[in-house]
């Protein structure tokens, strides 16, 4: 177990700078998820930590020791790849024991550790099989087994669930989480799937274009996104965002957005300021016409059973609304939308930075 620290990490490929001075710390035993759209540099960052990519600038330290010039094999890390990267010509047992064999460990010790890891991962019936004889989920578990056997300071996961089907992904998600709770090994997990990030992480690093947008606990990111990018990236369905001007008069505030005025609670921001108003789909409710709501017309009704998702045309914008239960509405119907008190997010239109929770 160990802490990991990134200090002013930079990465350039040729003349292209892909990571622009990233700094953050991962605590001992923490499950840290790096999340962001493809090309944001999250995998590159992980690969630098793994020693598979040169570090162009800055320092990476594991347990306080700078590892910039340390070989992968001496960093005491284990990595699980998206494609599993199991050795096709070795049995599950040999795959899992390979690293120990290279370290010239005592064969009895290897057997013992492999058996123990296999038991944790329910792989004991498959130890003598080859990777090609296993299902996707089993291969994924072997890849994790290979990491566990090492008993490393840090586990690295590079989009480990992307190759699995939806159902298996959910199952493996819980397994990895349970495994972490059992082993308490510091873990760095890269994914582009914000749901994976939300459900698994102790803390999340949201990355975009080689920069860190925000670091925090999953629900903090959800409740108080620092900027528009995080607001729209975290949460599904995504947060509704409309652009307009902030208006204040007589103690009332609203966002003027074309012909529509979105009422918001009083808060920061100057009269006339260009803002982006963000509202999560579940923080909108159907309401009658009135001063505290905006008029709209229903376009699509999508019942999922427990919830109903509505797409509503409001002025020029299409707004998504999620409500529990089964409202009796039909496409074409005129409705009013009201924002839950305290649930509106205001961002500066130009910088995209959060003004404050209005």
């Amino acid at each position: 177990m160990a802490s990991v620290s990134f200090q002013n990490i930079e990465k350039t490929f040729g003349t292209t700078k892909v990571i622009h001075g990233i700094s953050f710390d991962i605590h001992d035993g923490e499950f840290m998820v790096l999340v962001g759209p493809s090309g944001c540099g999250k995998s590159t960052l992980l690969r630098m930590l793994a020693g598979l990519e040169e570090i162009s600038g800055g320092t990476i330290a594991i347990d306080g020791r700078a590892v910039n010039d340390v070989d992968s094999k001496d960093r005491d890390i284990a990595m699980v790849f998206q494609s599993y990267a199991l050795y096709p010509h070795m049995t599950v047992r040999d795959n899992m024991g390979f690293s120990l064999k290279l370290r010239k460990a005592n064969p009895a010790v290897i057997t013992e550790r492999v058996t123990k890891a296999a038991k944790i991962l329910n792989l004991d019936p498959y130890l003598e099989r080859y990777p090609r004889e296993l299902s996707g989920g089993q291969r994924q578990r072997v890849a994790m087994g290979r990491a566990i056997v090492r008993d490393p300071k840090v586990f690295l996961f590079d989009e480990p669930l992307s190759n699995l089907d939806a159902k298996l992904r959910v199952q493996m998600r819980s397994e990895i989480k349970a495994l972490h709770q059992r082993l308490k090994t510091t873990t760095v997990y890269v994914t582009h799937d914000q749901i994976e990030a939300m459900t698994m992480a102790d803390r999340i690093v949201v990355m975009h274009d080689g920069r860190v947008e925000q670091i925090g606990e999953p629900l903090d990111l959800y409740d108080k996104p620092d900027n528009l990018f995080v607001a729209q990236f975290i949460g599904s369905p995504a947060m509704n965002v409309v652009n307009g001007s902030l208006r204040r008069s007589n103690g009332h505030a609203y966002v003027e957005c074309g012909s529509v005025n979105w009422p918001i609670p009083p808060g920061p921001g100057a009269d006339g300021q260009a803002v982006a108003l963000g509202v999560r789909p579940e923080h909108l409710a159907l309401a009658g016409a009135g001063r505290e709501s905006v008029p709209g017309e229903i376009i699509v009704v999508e019942p999922t059973g427990a919830e109903t998702e509505l797409l509503v045309q409001v002025g020029d914008a299409q707004i998504t609304l999620v409500t529990t239960g089964r409202p009796n509405v039909n496409p074409g119907e005129k409705v009013g939308l009201a924002i839950d008190p305290g649930a509106a997010h205001l961002f500066d239109a130009k910088s995209g930075q959060r003004l404050a929770t209005a």
Binding site: S72, I77, A85, L102
Partner: protein, 278 residues
């Protein structure tokens, strides 16, 4: 219906091709079971088929066949040596170029392939000179080195193409698992390349087995030449024993055929793998 038509067309092409290729081999076989007098009779099957020719060859009962077993052994030793040496060189080079991404690797590969622009026959004299300079003439290692030189560029290229297709994550996984480049080569790369290695090894082996020109130039003692060169000597007499020449030729053709059929699966997939980007 359409399938039958396609089949018929294939047969229409296949049968002439089969006859075309098999006819010389049939004659080879015909000579080998005929007596000298009958060999040129023009019949499609001899009146008195005989295995006498084989007996003569195996018992070395003719002037030209005095060293038959020794020469066959020379062929074998040289072919196997060329096969393994080519494999060693080509696998190491392909590993360095394709997996370790050694700087300049591609350039070297291109240079090596460039040598194929010059016909091997033109290189024979310079090669003879070079071997003479190193004092290797008349020594089997001269032929082995020459054949490795000829086989290696193609072998490297084929193996490089094949190793490009191995997932790169395997190397990274091994690296993190603690493998040195040499361990990666031995424990991960070679086992996964086995089918291609078999194909390339067989290619080099057969190339050396069938070589005449270089063998003729670089070796000259009766006891160290390969069988193809010895067969060439048959023609130096006014009255060539054609039936024995053909019998020996048939015997000489059998091991390659056996090797080919044993490794057919690897040959086809190995030599064509990586030919096109899939």
């Amino acid at each position: 219906m359409k399938r039958a038509l396609t089949e018929a067309r294939l047969l229409l092409i296949g049968i002439p091709v089969a006859i075309w290729t098999l006819l010389p081999i049939y004659h080879l076989f015909l000579f080998s079971i005929s007596t000298k007098d009958e060999a040129f009779s023009g019949r499609l099957w001899p009146e008195h088929p005989t295995l006498r020719n084989f007996s003569i060859v195996f018992h070395q009962e003719h002037y030209f066949l005095n060293h038959f077993w020794e020469q066959l052994w020379n062929s074998l030793v040289i072919a196997v040596a060329v096969g393994f040496l080519t494999l060693f060189i080509a696998a190491s080079a392909a590993f360095a170029i394709s997996r370790l991404k050694t700087r300049g690797g591609r350039t070297i590969l291109n240079f090596a392939l460039f040598t194929y622009f010059i016909p091997a026959a033109f290189l024979a004299v310079p090669m003879y000179k070079a071997m003479g300079t190193y004092g290797l003439l008349n020594h089997q290692s001269a032929l082995i080195l020459a054949m490795v030189t000829i086989a290696a560029p193609y072998a490297i290229w084929v193996l490089k193409q094949a190793s490009d297709k191995l997932p790169y994550e395997l190397d990274e996984a091994a690296k993190i698992d603690g493998a040195s480049p040499l361990q990666l080569f031995r424990l991960v790369y070679l086992p996964l390349m086995a089918p291609s290695l078999v194909a390339v090894g067989t290619y080099a082996l057969l190339l050396a087995w069938n070589e005449y020109l270089y063998a003729f130039l670089l070796l000259s003692k009766d006891t160290n030449i390969t069988l193809p060169v010895a067969l060439g000597h048959f023609l130096s007499a006014d009255d060539s024993p054609w039936e024995l020449l053909m019998t020996t030729g048939l015997i000489y053709a059998l091991p390659p055929a056996a090797i080919y059929y044993t490794f057919k699966r690897y040959m086809v997939s190995g030599l064509t793998s990586g030919a096109v980007k899939s």
